[in-house]
Symmetry: C2
């Protein structure tokens, strides 16, 4: 299968076989991450590999509701690491202030995600599946303490990896023409906006189980891995609010548009606690 086909078949996998990832495969994934593009070639990246069952369970309790963090044989914590650069600068008699620089946060975050996505794709080509867990900045204080991260190391993203037990096949995507703009940005007309999302999500037909497998697949998977409540709460909220369209479901149940700005100070605070005071 060529890489295009691998990438087009790839789906986030949350259900893994109870089978470790061999160490030589882990080494290859780390090598590839280490060779990913990085601005100015500074490589502000560290990866904590979490394989031991007790540590996986502890990490899963921190991020909550995502049992694949416990069940995956390998989770990588992708960290923005300015500690190493800063220490080298200090030992060399040079000041380093990148931890307080917004531009260096932006570039560093890009570097970290380039490495992470390189791991996703190499893993996929080797028969592994993976899923990102983006909640980690919100629980960064706990993660940093438990995994003994010093100042200037910030856990930006988790990636759970393992051999897939099942792969979701119903996850909908936009038509590629929706995301591509030739030569300049062309805003969609109102009708095209509605069509883009309706074609993506399909009809809102009242078959909650089938609908959830497209639109809330992680709650379905969590339920199957013994995590009670998420699916039920979503269904109850759907009924209570008399949700009657894809948009209402997405923004009122799944991706809560009303709550989105409430935790800004807390999240920015976790960065500040780690020595990153760059959002000002």
């Amino acid at each position: 299968m060529d890489l295009y086909d691998v990438l087009m078949r790839r789906r986030s996998v949350r259900n893994f076989e109870d089978k470790p990832v061999p160490e030589d495969v882990v080494d290859k994934l780390i090598d590839a991450a280490n060779n990913a593009p990085t601005a100015c070639n500074v490589q502000p990246l560290s990866i904590v590999t979490v394989q031991e069952a007790g540590r996986r369970a502890k990490l899963a309790r921190m991020v909550k509701r995502q049992p694949w963090v416990k069940n995956a044989p390998l989770t990588m914590i992708f960290c923005l690491d300015f500690w190493r650069l800063k220490r080298w600068a200090e030992l060399s008699g040079v000041a380093f202030r990148g931890n307080d620089a917004f531009s260096h946060f932006l570039l560093g975050y890009a570097d970290v995600m380039c490495a992470a996505q390189t791991v996703v794709i190499l893993a996929e080509s080797l028969g592994l599946g993976s899923v990102y867990v983006g909640k980690v900045p919100y629980v960064a204080d706990d993660v940093r303490a438990y995994f003994e991260m010093p100042a200037y190391v910030f856990p930006l993203m988790l990636l759970c990896l393992g051999y897939p037990k099942t792969v979701p096949r119903n996850v909908p995507k936009f038509s590629p023409s929706v995301i591509r703009h030739r030569g300049r940005y062309r805003p969609l007309s109102d009708d095209d906006v509605r069509n883009a999302f309706d074609e993506k999500y399909g009809s809102f037909d009242g078959n909650a189980r089938r609908y959830f497998e497209r639109v809330l697949v992680e709650a379905v998977e969590a339920g199957e891995q013994g995590e009670e409540g998420w699916l039920e709460r979503s269904r109850e909220r759907m009924t209570k609010l008399a949700v009657k369209s894809n948009a209402e479901f997405v923004f009122k149940v799944r991706y809560r548009a009303d709550l989105m700005v409430e935790n800004n100070a807390e999240a920015i605070g976790t960065f500040r606690n780690a020595g990153f005071d760059c959002f000002k």
Copy 2:
């Protein structure tokens, strides 16, 4: 060649053949980007493809000093796009505040970079080379105006693509053991910090040309593509400051540790100008 070998050979390419990227290849790259992982499957991504010579030249003038933006047959502008989601929410009678939510910025940035790095890797496997240009948030006001981006669309990253004329082969990387931490983060000892960087950069031997090909390859490439000044200024600064170590070169000449925090307000302002008021 298997994907691991492709990834280990990959280097950022800044010198391209004068040969267009065929449209069916561009379509594949967009397809793959469109199928990249995205938090909550919201796909807050738009890609502006810049192929016409006049527009490439204009974009190159905006980011300055990086002639590959003009010379590459294809540049993709990877945008965080909340306009489409926000418009859909409005048309559906639901509020959307993700543009002011720090968490949704973090997740959206990760989504955009997952898509971009997917393009890098698929392109590489198809014989193309690429290089990121991370400066675009600093000139986002100009880029947004010229490419007619509405509010809530922010250009986070450029990716220049084309068939490689030359590929840099001397770019140094850490030993992979430097970035991997098993089970918990283990700070390097002072000696190990020094060794990690010295092994990466090699000896500081006074052969400026050979040193620059490892440590400042983009200035060398820019010079070869007719961009005067960068290499010369770096060499002059190196002499003036009597730079005598890798750390001094990296932090005083290449990755200016003393200037890093000076532009925070300006960069955050470009986000605010685009309707993203999420860093507070």
